[in-house]
């Protein structure tokens, strides 16, 4: 018997309702609400932090601090606005603080990734490094729009930038990565 096709609208609606309920639990100080949000957003947050910071440990610290800040300021979240934008804005600010501290303390290249994520494919790892080597703003715009698939408007809200700046940054990042890809021996003939 064929499976009935899932109604994406219904699924999205159910998920939105669950999210609203989780947020309400967070506002009441109930930690199970935060657990729900972690299950939903933990991976994209960690991935984005890792690509922006280039270091695994700092990325985990950034996600941890993001949840702590969320706990302290959840009351400021306005119902009706998109929660993911609010949450990622906290993450981006946290990552920016970490980068500033890093620059002030012991300057280091942004490409010194301590641990490759889940090792694996050479091509993916090379692309990871290429993304991490992009200039800071370009990198954040590319990670949010191209990797995590947020819209330009959402990314602009998270980064506090004008939508035009985000579009240009993503375009420049793609161009740089294409040039890098064309010159990289890792990509020659590798279509797997």
């Amino acid at each position: 018997m064929a499976e009935r096709a899932a109604d994406p609208a219904q699924t999205a609606k159910a998920r939105e309702a669950e999210e609203a309920e989780a947020i309400a639990r967070c506002v009441r100080g109930d930690i199970s609400g935060y657990r729900w949000l972690y299950d939903r957003y933990g991976q994209p947050l960690l991935r984005s932090a890792f690509r922006i910071l280039g270091r695994r440990e700092e990325a985990e610290d950034a996600v941890q601090d993001t949840f702590l800040k969320l706990y302290r300021h959840i009351g400021n979240f306005k119902t009706g606005s998109r929660f993911s934008t609010y949450l990622f804005r906290i993450l981006i600010n946290t990552c920016t603080d970490i980068l500033r501290k890093r620059e002030a303390g012991h300057p280091a290249s942004t490409t010194d990734m301590d641990v490759p994520v889940h090792s694996g494919h050479e091509v993916r790892h090379a692309l990871d490094e290429a993304v991490t080597a992009l200039p800071e703003r370009m990198r954040a715009c590319f990670v949010l729009c191209a990797v995590e698939e947020f819209t330009y408007v959402e990314a602009a809200g998270m980064l506090g930038l004008h939508i035009g700046s985000v579009k240009v940054s993503v375009h420049r990042a793609r161009k740089k990565l294409r040039d890098w890809l064309a010159a990289s021996p890792v990509f020659e003939g590798d279509e797997s």
């Binding site: 669950e18 935060y34 091509v123 993916r124 692309l127 793609r174």
Partner: protein, 217 residues
């Protein structure tokens, strides 16, 4: 790169139709388009899950600690503020000759405060036996209600759309794992109020989720 048509296409200066026609004659732009396709495919691979072992446990510990700190500060602040008000009022009206007597009174007050006053409620999150018994009763009631709901929700879940069913199953598994972790923590220290609060929240969450499954049309 001498031809800039692909850049123009990317920023929306020329449309897809014009670009398609251009690609037929320009090898440089064809190469850019191929590289772009490749980049899009490889970028998708960057969305694979990353290892986060133990991260939630660390976050949870920080949140519980934060919750404890906030409660502890509220408890500590109130009596201190009251003492400061009382002493500053006293010194404002005392004559200089009475300072020694005031100091004596302050020492007496400190001795009373440290040794004789009734013990304040512990900010460490430990519960009294009576409160623990109430919490355990409530947990048992939740568990019984959940058992009944689970029996009814099972067939309902089986009838659902696959994706919705997967969503609810995922959620129930997450809550069950949470309840299990709480039970383990509560077995080690039954008087830990944070753990019991968390457990009750998880049980309530499960009851609500099962209720929503049953309410689905």
């Amino acid at each position: 790169m001498s031809c800039t048509k692909y850049d123009d296409f990317e920023v929306g200066r020329i449309g897809a139709g014009e670009m398609k026609r251009h690609l037929e004659t320009c090898a440089e732009c064809r190469n850019q388009a191929a590289l772009d396709d490749r980049l899009t495919r490889e970028t998708a691979s960057l969305r694979r899950p990353v290892g986060d072992a133990g991260l939630w446990d660390r976050i949870e510990a920080r949140l519980v600690e934060e919750a404890g700190t906030v409660r502890g500060e509220v408890m500590k602040r109130t009596p201190e503020r009251a003492r400061v008000t009382f002493l500053s009022g006293f010194f404002r009206f005392a004559r200089p000759a009475g300072v020694a007597a005031a100091a004596l009174a302050a020492v007496g007050l400190a001795v009373w405060f440290l040794l004789l006053r009734p013990a304040p409620e512990s900010p460490s999150g430990l519960m009294a036996d009576a409160a623990l018994a109430r919490v355990e009763t409530e947990e048992r009631e939740y568990a019984a209600a959940i058992k009944e709901l689970e029996a009814k929700a099972g067939p309902k879940l089986a009838e659902m759309d696959f994706s919705l069913m997967a969503l609810y199953k995922d959620r129930l598994e997450t809550i069950d794992a949470q309840i299990e972790r709480c039970r383990e923590a509560a077995a080690k220290n039954p008087w830990n109020a944070h753990v019991r609060t968390y457990m009750l929240a998880a049980l309530r969450d499960k009851q609500d989720t099962l209720g929503r499954i049953l309410a689905q049309e």
